[in-house]
């Protein structure tokens, strides 16, 4: 005759005792043993607190239409220069020559942020003036929005020196970020929004490349022009200007940032609970057993 289950219901069995009892102590000890060791396990197994993180963002870069330009000529002490800084130009006087500057920032993928700069500069020269070196600083504005609202003024520096007089210098590259400290996860960050060239100064010292570069590299977040492929074209024709063209792409970049409080708590919690579950399942039985035993022994 087969036996079958006719009916079943759960049974709630309450064990009661005083606070000062062996069962209470056991309960506390078991609770302690269940809750605390998982914390040690997850903490001592590295990476409990996620202090830093990475995120990717397409920066909002805009060419500020500011530049500082110098052409080295063949003869000792001869050069031609131009900048968009009036006070610098005032310092230069007879070495100042105004070039034709054309620039265009194109948004290829139509995401509302420029993807690159097409820069074209023509410096009119006499046929006797032979350009043996070019140095050019372009000033950009760099903005990030995804975590902290980050704004800075930054630059791209391109230079070339050649023993042979040139007619054209072409640069193709990326404006990359160089980050020494993490960014914040929220708030407005204008720590590095300082002018690259102190254009309010009237002193020659403030326009030395060494001073500009020293102050710029002292910043913890900067940009640099990564352009390993440049071409120096020689053979300038009669009456032709010297031409600089630059195609600078603004790439999507990966940024290091310090995570926020709740982000750390969230990932800590996930790690902790996943280990805690194992402890709970294994120790819940022993709790039952030991409390029962202790009570029955009373």
């Amino acid at each position: 005759m087969a036996v079958y289950e006719v009916f079943s219901h759960p049974e709630l069995r309450r064990y009661k005792t005083h606070i000062c009892s062996k069962a209470s102590i056991i309960l506390i000890v078991v609770l302690f043993v269940t809750v605390i060791p998982p914390l040690f396990v997850v903490y001592r197994s590295y990476g409990f607190w996620l202090k830093e993180g990475f995120y990717e963002e397409m920066p909002d870069i805009e060419f500020k239409r500011q530049l500082l330009l110098v052409f080295e000529l063949e003869n000792e002490g001869d050069f031609i220069t131009y900048s968009t800084y009036q006070r610098y130009n005032q310092l230069q006087q007879q070495n100042l020559r105004v070039p034709l500057i054309q620039s265009r920032e194109e948004d290829w993928n139509r995401d509302g942020k420029a993807d690159g700069l097409d820069f074209h500069l023509e410096m009119p020269l006499q046929d006797t003036e032979k350009v043996t070196g070019v140095k050019l600083i372009l000033i950009f504005q760099y903005k990030l929005f995804r975590y902290s609202t980050f704004t800075m003024e930054c630059m791209a520096y391109m230079y070339h020196d050649s023993a042979k007089a040139g007619s054209k210098y072409e640069v193709f590259g990326d404006l990359k970020i160089s980050q020494r400290t993490p960014l914040a996860h929220r708030g407005t960050d204008t720590r590095f929004n300082t002018p690259v060239v102190n254009s309010t100064s009237v002193y020659a010292k403030d326009y030395e490349f060494s001073k500009i570069f020293k102050e710029y590299t002292a910043r913890n977040v900067t940009t640099y022009l990564q352009a390993p492929y440049t071409s120096w074209i020689t053979g300038r024709g009669a009456g032709q200007p010297f031409v600089i063209t630059a195609n600078i792409t603004y790439p999507e970049e990966r940024y290091l940032y310090t995570t926020g409080f709740w982000y750390m708590i969230k990932w800590g919690w996930i790690q902790y609970v996943s280990v805690l579950l194992i402890f709970l399942s294994s120790l819940i039985e022993s709790k039952c057993l030991s409390i029962k035993t202790s009570l029955y022994k009373l």
Binding site: R65, D78, T81
Partner: protein, 1070 residues
């Protein structure tokens, strides 16, 4: 015997005391000595006197002793030569009755101040050495001058018209005082001047002139005081100036044109009017071949062409050239109308693309002088190539926007390539304006539907071929289905016609444009100065390096910022003339310059707020040899002869085992304290502080009087510049040529010297009144010179007296030149905290290496001479009389090396030595300096030197002859390096407690992120970060505690301390 001598001596003394010692003083009785005397060159003879008086006193009790007889007083000047004040000085005879008198002098010659001393050599009581007075300065000030000051062109006065009276300005170098001055001008043929009178108080006088000839003539002016001697005819003559008739010039603007339209406009401009009447110009436009253009510009065609009949209005009617014409070919220009607009138009349209050269020329048809000009316009015309709106039939009212109907329902652009209304657009096959003949000329039709380009396929379309497809790509893509929907259209944007609508569009986003935003630096408005109203204000500037070494010739100097720079220029003919950096007039001039009186030089304002003028004194020196300023073009050859050190053992001096001098008595010391005083080149002849320096001029292949060195020394006190002492070196330099390029390095220096008047600093150990430099206070600052010296002891008891810290007694390193030779190497000072390695080469051959011991001794001698100090200063500024502030330098004991005690019994080594193989040659010296951070001063760790050790490097030397035979040559030499290095080692000031290695090396790192400090990281994150930073400086930790306790107050205190620190670090205060 001695008794007799004593009696004789006392007798002699008695005689002297009774007679007294006579002295001469410059000044007046009773006792008013004068320290400076200045006279005007033009002063009346009676006033050219030097007041003197004599005194005779008993040297014992300083009482007056009567003067016997007549005393003849003479005076002498300290220096003479051109540029210095001089005069023929007479003598004066004085006596007891008249002890005061005047020494007269005549023939005064203007110049710089010199010292004058008066003396007497008469009688028993006066002799030259005893009676000579202390020096007073003696200056003959230049007489005032009268110069013509042309406005506009330099040195040229423009005369507007012939035979007409006209005035020009004459500047007097001094304000007229005492009596009016008659100004008389004289000039060449054709110049007539009227005599003018400068009233009292005047500095500028108008003078009337008439020029009767057509050719330029030169004229000069001079002045004579009507009574008195302020201005004298003899020496007030100014430089000559050219007077010439003003030449009117006519020009067409712009001077070259490139146009693509069938009409263009130019402006005819008469730069200076022809005074008599209006000038009529006749203009033409000619179409020419390119080859004829240049000729037509030089010889305008309007010159030869016969005048054509007057034009009819609104039509270009010049019949000579049918293609191009001027609308109004005849214009009148006079003094009221200076310019006229000329419009050149093409009379007929073009049918094909043409490049045309049009020359517009204008000639005067009235007047005596020939006035003509021409310009060249390059015209490129193509039919329909550019949209010619004037030809469009749809040209509508541009002031009201056209309303475009809803494009969703109305086909507004049935043919997208039809850009021009009413005209056939090239290659647009759907353009209804094109005739079939025109359509046949099309090269192709613009592709795609209705002549427009097809849009790219969006990425969400199922047909899209883009690369980064989502994993579920075909699932969520969009596919098109053609139905009755007409499509999506962009909203029609009206063009912006009001400023308001423009601003609304651009509002909200930061946009950058090409512009020079900064304001130009404008000096403050001209101000009234002592010498009258200043015409202009500017900033003091000197050429300075900018960018990557280029030179900016007009870079301003910064107040209290010393500057030392140089610039290299090729000295071309152009640089040797005009206002180049080689012109002495480009730099500051003496404030006493008055010859000529105009243009006046710039003066230094003592303070921009008060209009005080700081006195400027410029001294000019003329270099005879400027090679140190010219880049050498020769290359030195590699040394091939034996060369050791610039030193030989002084004869008869005892040496120790290691070849060191054992006595410190000269000449056995070997220490040579070089005199740092620079010798100045000879002064220029014109350097009398009154004459303006000459501009450079080309003489053959040489540029004369070119500036090579400029030094400004500003003396300041508080916010004021008190004085400027400038030094300018001039030289005659060969001009640069393509075959022989001459590159001149100009040097510039500006320094600010404090005229200090406060109480001296407490650590002014040498008790100097001039600024001195510390290496830090109290501890050393990084990159400041390390102070060391030798102990000077009392000879008898050997007790410490003081430290000799002269350059030759300080620790030093090699300072080698391009040749790298030890014999030419100087001493380079050691900078605190900078580990440095230097070396120089000695060239030695077989003979030296066969005598290793002597060679080694000489090297040890020289190395110890390079680092001779016995003690090193512990702090940035040490008391030379306090032995506690100097620590002992420990030295490696070389006795065993010097005496060969180790190798004495080693046969192998000895045999090597004989064969020219030297072992254990001392070839270098190394200094190790230990410093620690001992305590804190003003919140900055005090870096204190706590120990120093000198060790020697040893090498084995042998010739490595390239080919074997070279070694046999006794004259063959090879270089061997002698090194000197310094190393700074930071040690804990106190011996630290032992720590496990990991903690000691990386106290700031939380190893694998599992240290217990970081257990509650999200909660105590900020305090953790702070702690890590504080490991850098214990200082910061101290501050941190204070901030915790005091909150904001604590932070303020620390800021104040930092400020104090800054002030305390100011290097120069006596």
């Amino acid at each position: 015997m001695s008794c007799i001598i004593y009696i004789l001596l006392s007798l002699l003394f008695q005689v002297i005391s009774s007679q007294g010692i006579g002295k001469v003083y410059i000044g007046t009785l009773p006792n008013n000595t004068v320290s400076s005397l200045s006279f005007n060159e033009n002063s009346a003879l009676v006033s050219l006197v030097i007041p003197v008086f004599i005194e005779n006193k008993n040297p014992v009790d300083n009482t007056d002793v009567p003067i016997t007889g007549n005393i003849v007083v003479e005076c002498e000047l300290s220096s003479n030569g051109s540029g210095f004040s001089s005069a023929t000085i007479q003598t004066v005879s004085l006596a007891q009755a008249n002890r005061g008198g005047n020494v007269q002098f005549s023939k005064p010659v203007k110049g710089q101040a010199v010292d004058i001393r008066c003396f007497s050599d008469s009688g028993l009581q006066f002799n030259k050495t005893e009676s000579i007075s202390s020096p007073s300065s003696f200056t003959i000030i230049s007489g005032p001058t009268v110069s013509i000051c042309p406005t506009g062109t330099k040195d040229v006065v423009a005369i507007n018209s012939q035979n007409t009276q006209q005035t020009f300005n004459v500047r007097l170098s001094d304000v007229v005082a005492g009596s009016p001055v008659t100004i008389t001008c004289t000039g060449g043929a054709g110049l007539t001047f009227l005599t003018a009178t400068a009233t009292i108080g005047a500095r500028e006088v108008p003078v009337t002139v008439t020029l009767t000839t057509n050719t330029p003539a030169t004229g000069t002016c001079r002045g004579q005081s009507q009574t008195g001697v302020q201005y004298l005819f003899a020496n007030s003559l100014g430089p000559p100036v050219t007077f010439q008739l003003l030449q009117p010039v006519v020009a067409l603007y712009p001077q070259s044109l490139s146009v693509a339209t069938t009409s263009f406009a130019t402006i005819l401009l008469l730069t200076s009017s022809v005074s008599d009447s209006a000038t009529t110009f006749r203009c033409r436009a000619d179409l020419l071949a390119l080859a004829d253009v240049q000729n037509a510009i030089q010889n305008p065609l309007c010159r030869t062409a016969t005048p054509t009949p007057g034009p009819t209005a609104g039509n270009a009617t010049d019949t000579v050239t049918p293609e191009w014409g001027i609308l109004t070919p005849e214009v009148n220009l006079d003094s009221s109308v200076h310019h006229a607009l000329l419009k050149a138009t093409r009379n007929v349209g073009v049918t094909t693309s043409v490049e045309e050269n049009v020359v517009v020329s204008c000639c005067n048809t009235t007047g005596t002088t020939t006035l003509e000009t021409a310009i060249w316009a390059q015209v490129s015309l193509t039919p329909n190539a550019t949209v010619d709106w004037e030809k469009s039939t749809d040209s509508n009212n541009f002031t009201t926007p056209r309303t475009i109907q809803n494009v969703a329902f109305v086909e507004v652009a049935p043919c997208p390539c039809d850009l021009t209304g009413g005209v056939c657009d090239i290659n647009c096959c759907c353009d209804g304006d094109c005739t079939s003949a025109e359509q046949e000329t099309f090269s192709r039709c613009i592709p795609y539907l209705d002549g427009g380009q097809e849009a790219a396929l969006p990425e969400y379309m199922c047909d899209s071929k883009h690369f980064h497809k989502e994993d579920w790509f075909p699932l969520m893509c969009v596919t098109n289905e053609y139905n009755s929907l007409l499509g999506f259209f962009y909203q029609n944007e009206n063009n912006l016609r009001t400023t308001q609508s423009l601003l609304e569009k651009v509002n909200g986003k930061e946009r950058f444009t090409y512009k020079e935003e900064e304001e130009r630096v404008e000096p403050p408005a001209p101000a009234t100065t002592k010498a009258g109203l200043a015409d202009r204000r500017g900033v003091v500037s000197l050429p300075q390096r900018i960018l990557s070494g280029e030179c900016s010739t007009t870079a301003p100097l910064q107040y209290l910022r010393d500057m030392d720079s140089d610039c290299s220029f090729q000295l071309t003919n152009a640089m040797c003339s005009g206002d180049s950096v080689f012109n002495a007039l480009s730099y500051i001039q003496s404030s006493t310059t008055r010859d000529p009186s105009c243009p006046s030089a710039f003066s230094i304002m003592g303070n921009p707020n008060t209009q005080n003028i700081a006195e400027t004194v410029v001294n000019y020196y003329c270099l005879t040899d400027a090679t140190s300023y010219i880049k050498s073009t020769t290359t030195a050859a590699t040394p091939s002869t034996r060369s050791l050190f610039n030193y030989t053992y002084p004869a008869g001096c005892p040496l120790d085992n290691c070849g060191r001098e054992t006595t410190s008595e000269p000449p056995c010391t070997g220490y040579v304290d070089g005199t740092a005083q620079e010798t100045l080149p000879p002064r220029c002849g014109f350097n009398d502080h009154y004459t303006r320096p000459p501009s450079p001029n080309i003489n053959g292949a040489t540029c004369e009087n070119a500036v090579v060195d400029v030094r400004y020394n500003f003396y300041w006190s508080g916010p004021n510049i008190l004085k400027l002492n400038a030094t300018v070196f001039l030289a005659n330099i060969l001009l640069s040529s393509p075959a022989n390029p001459v590159v001149v390095t100009q040097k510039y220096k500006a320094s600010f010297v404090n005229s200090f008047a406060g109480s001296p600093a407490e650590d002014n150990f040498y008790n100097v009144s001039t600024p001195f430099s510390r290496s830090g206070k109290p501890g050393y600052d990084i990159d400041k010179p390390m102070i060391s010296g030798m102990v000077i002891r009392n000879e008898t008891n050997n007790a410490f007296l003081y430290m000799n810290s002269n350059t030759s007694r300080q620790m030093a390193l090699w300072n080698t030149g391009f040749d790298g030779l030890c014999t030419n190497a100087g001493r380079r000072e050691i900078l605190f905290g900078k580990d440095t390695f230097t070396s120089c080469n000695i060239y030695i051959g077989t003979s030296d290496l066969e005598n290793c011991t002597d060679l080694s001794k000489l090297i040890i001698n020289r190395l110890d001479n390079l680092m001779p100090s016995e003690r090193i200063g512990r702090y940035g500024n040490n008391n030379p009389y306090g032995p506690a502030q100097w620590i002992e330098v420990l030295r490696e004991d070389l006795t065993s090396t010097c005496t060969n005690s180790l190798e004495a019994n080693n046969q192998t080594v000895l045999s090597w030595r004989i064969s020219g193989f030297c072992t254990d040659i001392v070839s270098g010296i190394n200094l190790d300096v230990m410093y620690g951070e001992s305590g804190m001063a003003n919140g900055v760790p005090t870096k204190e030197i706590i120990g120093a050790y000198v060790s020697y490097s040893k090498s084995a030397w042998q010739l490595t002859c390239g080919s074997g035979s070279q070694c046999a040559d006794p004259s063959y030499v090879e270089p061997f390096p002698i090194t000197a290095s310094v190393r700074f080692i930071k040690v804990p000031a106190n011996t630290p407690e032992p720590k496990i290695r990991w903690e000691e090396e990386h106290p700031d790192i939380c190893y694998r992120d599992i240290c217990w400090d970081n257990f509650m990281y999200p909660l105590n994150q900020s305090s953790n970060n702070q702690r890590i930073q504080n490991f850098e400086h214990q200082v910061a930790q101290v501050n941190e505690h204070r901030i915790l306790i005091l909150g904001w107050g604590g932070e303020l205190i620390t800021d104040c301390e930092r400020l104090n620190q800054k002030f305390d670090n100011v290097e120069e205060d006596p």
